[in-house]
């Protein structure tokens, strides 16, 4: 009976989580992917909302870089918006106000399922000869709650009621696990 209840809970819970609205930073060079190792010091990234299932009229959030809380390693050089952006205030890196964006006409969160909310231009400072990923390994960029409200959420047309959003984590400068070639016999001998 307990197993049945547990299976039922998981069966009901998982689809709910999968259908939740999410916001994440995706990389221009690898559309649809959230991990990227930049090859130039300036590069773009896009903020998308996924599976909104609403006509989205506004969002409030901030971007966190836990490995670089003062943003010394990576700067936000600029933000561009889709044509239907109406009003915005704050800054994605601002830890007091955060960033608010409104859209009119609303974003159609039903089709195609991914909605572009903003395009960031990031810049990694340093000498030109230095690799952009110098000193940065598995560098996370987190879509987090707006610091003013304490919430990561959007609003939907027509009454602009709020709905919760799950923030996703993207990774810059993907760390690689070192490997060396070895024969199969040598591996087998390790287990004798």
């Amino acid at each position: 009976m307990k197993k049945v209840l547990l299976l039922l809970t998981v069966a009901l819970l998982v689809p709910g989580l999968l259908s939740a609205q999410t916001m994440g930073v995706y990389f221009n060079e690898n559309p649809g992917q959230m991990a990227y190792s930049p090859t130039t010091k300036a590069f773009e990234a896009q903020l998308y909302i996924h599976a909104a299932d609403y006509y989205v009229t506004a969002v409030e959030y901030m971007l966190l870089t836990p490995d670089d809380p003062t943003h010394a390693l990576m700067w936000l050089a600029g933000v561009a918006y889709p044509d239907n952006m109406s009003v915005e205030w704050g800054d994605p890196f601002d830890d007091t106000v955060g960033h608010n964006i409104s859209y009119w006409p609303p974003l159609n969160g039903f089709v195609p399922g991914y909605n572009l909310m903003a395009t960031y231009t990031f810049y990694i400072p340093g000498p030109p000869e230095q690799s952009p990923c110098h000193g940065m390994v598995d560098f996370p960029i987190v879509v987090a709650a707006n610091p003013d409200s304490g919430l990561l959420r959007g609003t939907y047309h027509p009454d602009n009621l709020p709905f919760p959003i799950i923030g996703l984590t993207s990774i810059l400068c993907i760390g690689e696990i070192a490997v060396e070639e070895e024969s199969w016999g040598a591996i087998k001998s390790l287990y004798k």
Binding site: V87, S149, G154
Partner: protein, 222 residues
């Protein structure tokens, strides 16, 4: 020739009807609201909230000096404004919560007045600004309706009007955004809570109100 005479006669009938309708008497006429304490959000473009969405309406009974209802008053012959007089001068940034900016066609009745001189107003208002206290007055054909029988004071309807055009300049712009930002995430009881920017009347200024501002941004009078 015959057609010309028919046309002239028809025109005379139309004018005669309006003339026969009698002069509006501001003291005999009456106005009121169907339910108490409605809060209406308006935009200079006239595209925000309908009065009926609050579950009520404004009613007006237009009468002549003898107290007889005047039928046929056109739906465009009505006007409104805040009962509290505007101050002579206003400091920059200090827009009091009883000022309105009225656009052409700010208020339109639902129909001509009926045989009793009655009509209702339940649609959208095209205005900016904010009135929290003091109420609003109704004018018919330029005459502001007064409280019977003293006829000394205006009839002030118990209505709260708000607009994303917070500074009452008939335009929703960055100046209005500042008011929203100053009150953001403040609720009833908080010192910086500004009811004038709480456009969904839920007691807190938050992302929902931000979204309403975004929907009406750059709107002005048509």
């Amino acid at each position: 020739m015959f057609k010309g005479k028919v046309l002239l006669f028809s025109l005379l009938l139309v004018f005669a009807t309006s003339v026969y309708a009698g002069d509006v008497d501001e003291c005999q006429s009456e106005a009121g609201v169907s339910i108490c304490c409605m809060q209406i959000s308006c935009c200079p473009a006239g595209d925000f909230q309908n009065i009926w969405e609050e579950g009520g309406y404004i009613w007006v009974e237009v009468k002549d000096a003898l107290g007889v209802g005047i039928p046929g008053i056109p739906w465009t012959d009505f006007w409104l404004d805040a009962c509290v007089p505007k101050p002579d001068s206003i400091e920059v940034g200090d827009i009091p919560p009883y000022m309105l900016c009225l656009c052409p066609g700010a208020i339109v009745a639902d129909s001509l007045t009926n045989a009793s001189g009655r009509t209702t107003i339940s649609g959208r208002l095209a205005l900016g600004g904010c009135v929290l206290t003091g109420g609003i007055y109704i004018a018919v054909q330029g005459k502001i309706l007064e409280v019977y029988p003293e006829c000394l004071d205006y009839i002030c309807l118990d209505l709260i009007l708000k607009s994303p055009d917070r500074n009452a300049d008939c335009y929703v712009g960055v100046s209005d955004l500042v008011y929203l930002a100053d009150s953001y995430n403040e609720g009833v009881g908080d010192p910086d809570y500004d009811q004038c920017v709480d456009w969904n009347h839920d007691g807190i200024v938050n992302i929902s109100d931000f979204a309403f501002l975004g929907a009406h941004y750059t709107h002005g009078c048509f």
